[in-house]
């Protein structure tokens, strides 16, 4: 702790809480206590953590006004920043750790806190995880205030409410709950508030960790909150009747309540023309189904149902498979795991070596595996299509969880063939159907059936048809049209 006292002043022992505060800031090299003499007989003690405050503005905001104006109370001299009173020592501790500068007002015998946070942070950059060609390119950053600015610019209405909470005994993360009052069903807000207030953990480094505590079902592979770093997606969700949670130091916002089908929507769907967007969405759903069931289907056909394969293809398959030592199931598992290893490795590798990995991966999986006799040519082709088809799903978490579902279907296919795959599908569908997100059913609008919402389900209907908000969100104002007089 760095202490700088004016040698001519000697009224330390008259300051309340001073010693307690100094005790709390013990062994912190970046904590500073500076005494400034004002006038002839008065002095002001400034207490702050110099890594948390904006040092450039310290001089012009606090020190110079203090020296310049005389006679008035301290609080009225500082006009450039927000000044608030410090009530208790816990308040003082909290404020000093949030980047406030504490100064004592010996005239009124109180401590004041001046907010002067360090603005260090990332500039507004395009999103790395969700890129669009048309559409806004700004994305959230780790500074929660900037994020709120971006959202408020898109929804400049007074009914956009921001409630803030603090969670995490160590990280003291600020969580802001945003919703449009009068539009959103108050049940969701109440539920979210209750859940956030009951969270008890030490650190929250990312919004997904907060989601892990407030979601309804902990032991499922599917997320119940949508994580996005695009402010336009958040604003759209708020306008539909959902709520958003922003967590400090995390660029990803949580949106809820969502359904399973929101995981397949990309913001770009709403910027393209509707037949094109519908086609792309259908391809997304199609590729999800295909990539999930293609390898299990292949294993089922080659293990149990050789009668289903048309004769010309059987020709090719028999040729390629007759020299392999492994069963189709073993081959399938081996290839899926190898593909996952390569995907993970390419994430962790430094960028300079990732190109080498691409080449090795291609050669290892492609050519060498076939020639060494580990895999058949048909399976390599199917694996390639399936791997690429996985990435069509916009949500990264779903992509990763699909691999688990694929392995489950593969095991069932190797035990029971085609009926096994259907049993797996029934199980997965029943499981998804039983999930809820903030209390709302996860598989709406299929089950429960909301006919009107199907315009935005598998296709993206024209915007002129979307007159109502989604029914599963139970909004207070159902129609999107404002009556013009």
């Amino acid at each position: 702790m760095v202490e700088k006292y004016d040698p001519q002043m000697n009224n330390l022992q008259m300051l309340p809480w001073f010693d307690d505060l100094k005790q709390k800031l013990n062994l912190m090299d970046d904590a500073e206590v500076v005494e400034h003499r004002i006038g002839t007989s008065a002095s002001v003690h400034l207490l702050y953590i110099n890594t948390l405050i904006d040092q450039e503005r310290l001089n012009e905001t606090i020190i110079q006004p203090l020296h310049r104006s005389t006679g008035n109370s301290l609080a009225s001299r500082i006009t450039n920043a927000k000044v608030s009173e410090v009530i208790s020592i816990e308040d003082a501790e909290q404020k000093i750790m949030q980047g406030f500068i504490l100064l004592n007002d010996s005239v009124n015998d109180q401590w004041l806190g001046v907010q002067l946070e360090n603005p260090l942070g990332r500039a507004v950059e395009p999103s790395q995880t969700e890129t669009v060609i048309y559409g806004a390119k700004d994305s959230f950053s780790e500074q929660i205030d900037k994020n709120i600015t971006m959202l408020r610019r898109r929804l400049p209405i007074t009914t956009l409410k921001t409630e803030s909470f603090t969670v995490g005994s160590l990280s003291k993360s600020k969580v802001v709950l945003l919703y449009i009052d009068g539009l959103i069903n108050p049940e969701f807000v109440y539920l979210a508030r209750k859940k956030i207030e009951s969270v008890d953990f030490d650190q929250f480094l990312d919004s997904s960790q907060l989601a892990a505590f407030i979601e309804d079902h902990h032991h499922t592979v599917l997320p119940q909150f949508l994580q996005t770093d695009r402010p336009d997606a958040c604003a759209y969700a708020l306008g539909e009747g959902k709520l958003t949670l922003l967590v400090s130091n995390s660029p990803f916002a949580l949106i809820g309540p969502i359904t399973f089908f929101h995981l397949f929507q990309s913001p770009e769907d709403y910027f393209l023309r509707w037949p094109v967007a519908s086609f792309l969405r259908l391809i997304r759903y199609g590729s999800f189904m295909v990539s999930l069931t293609m390898i299990p289907f292949y294993v089922a056909l080659t293990t149990f149902h050789y009668q289903m394969i048309p004769l010309p293809i059987l020709f090719v398959l028999l040729e390629s498979r007759s020299k392999l030592p492994f069963t189709p199931f073993a081959e399938g598992v081996f290839m899926i795991i190898t593909l996952e290893i390569i995907k993970e490795a390419s994430l962790r590798m430094p960028s300079k070596t990732s190109q080498t990995l691409g080449v090795i991966g291609g050669i290892v999986i492609g050519q060498a595996a076939v020639e060494a006799g580990f895999a058949s040519k048909v399976l390599i082709v199917l694996m390639g299509i399936s791997a690429i088809a996985f990435f069509l799903v916009p949500n990264y978490q779903v992509t990763k969880s699909m691999v688990l579902m694929q392995v489950l279907l593969l095991i069932l296919a190797s035990f029971l063939g085609l009926p096994g795959i259907v049993i797996g599908m029934i199980g997965i569908l029943a499981h998804i159907h039983g999930l809820t997100s903030l209390g709302q059913p996860y598989f709406a609008p299929i089950a429960p059936f909301y006919g009107k919402d199907w315009k935005d389900l598998f296709i993206r209907g024209p915007l002129i048809w979307m007159k109502t908000r989604p029914k599963n969100l139970k909004p207070l104002r159902k129609s999107r049209k404002e009556i013009k007089k």
Binding site: M308, I309, P310, V422, M425, I426, A447, F449
Partner: protein, 369 residues
Amino acid sequence: MKSLYNRTSTFNGIYFLLLINRTQMHYYVLIMPVYLVHSYMIWGIVVMGLLSQLNVMLLSKWFTSSYAAKGYQGFLQLFGKRMVQVFAIFGLLIILLKISILSLGYVEMLHSFIYPSMDKKWLILVILLISLFVASHGMEKTLRFVVIAFLCGAWILIVFIPFFFPPIANYRDLYPLIPTEWSGQSWQGLLFIWSAYSGSVYLAFMVPWLSSNKKITKYLVIGNMLTIIEYLLLFIATILFYGSSFLSKINFPVVYMGSYIETNALDRIDYILISFHMFNYVFDISILLLCFYGAIRVIMSKMNERTTRIGLLSSWFVILISIILMNQWLWQSVPGQKMLLNIQIWLGAFIYLLVPTILFIAVKRKESI
């Protein structure tokens, strides 16, 4: 732990449509053409369908009454505790028989076509396991599952449309259009159709979860009509494909027809069709499993206590054991199978006749007092 029989929201009328349709489309539809060999039985399907419409209207009167919405309490008010327990005991046996015939029928089909040498016990176990999983989500979620079952099961019908076009179809096979001779077998055919429509009678006990909106009659009628159209479509397709005299010699005509369809990418589509048909059975068995557990609770007078996992598991286990025993002793031999099917047909027809009438009369009586 949440109760299995919670109600959190009401459903729209469309659920009635789907429920009626799906509870009537299972095993019977596959063996129906064998019972109604002749082409004039098309009128049989239509006539029975219209009678079933009348029955459905009777049921809809029950649905809109206030007693139905109260569930168990409503039954107590109408009949008194003793009678309800007696009904529950009968219902238990009837439900057990229905679940058994459904599973055994489907397993028979799987066994004949896809896995001829697999031991049937495994197939029975697997189907019952997945039904238990679906049922464990609770009555409300299982009822909502009908939408998924409908979407995944109804497209099978579209695959049969090519059978209506020549040269496979020879429309002269449909002649004669009116019955020129009538035998005991024809009466049995009519009874069979009536029993096939009887799946919807279980909906009478699920009114607390479905809304008692006044406009549901429309949906019920449409649902029944949809079933009639599906039966007609499949039956006419089989007659056009096989001709009446050949038809009487095949045991699963609809499935064999499925194996005739050829596409560029795959042959033997019937494997996929049989597998997807499983959705109907799993849905039905889950609903009936929950009804079975409910009936046990009524008999043991435990309606006010919470539902337990052990309770559901043990009722499931009882059903599993009884199906396996039935398979072992009765279903394996042809006379035993015939006897079981006949009992089920007669019982099904009987309850479809009785239950709506009894409920209707009871409500009218209470209202007039």
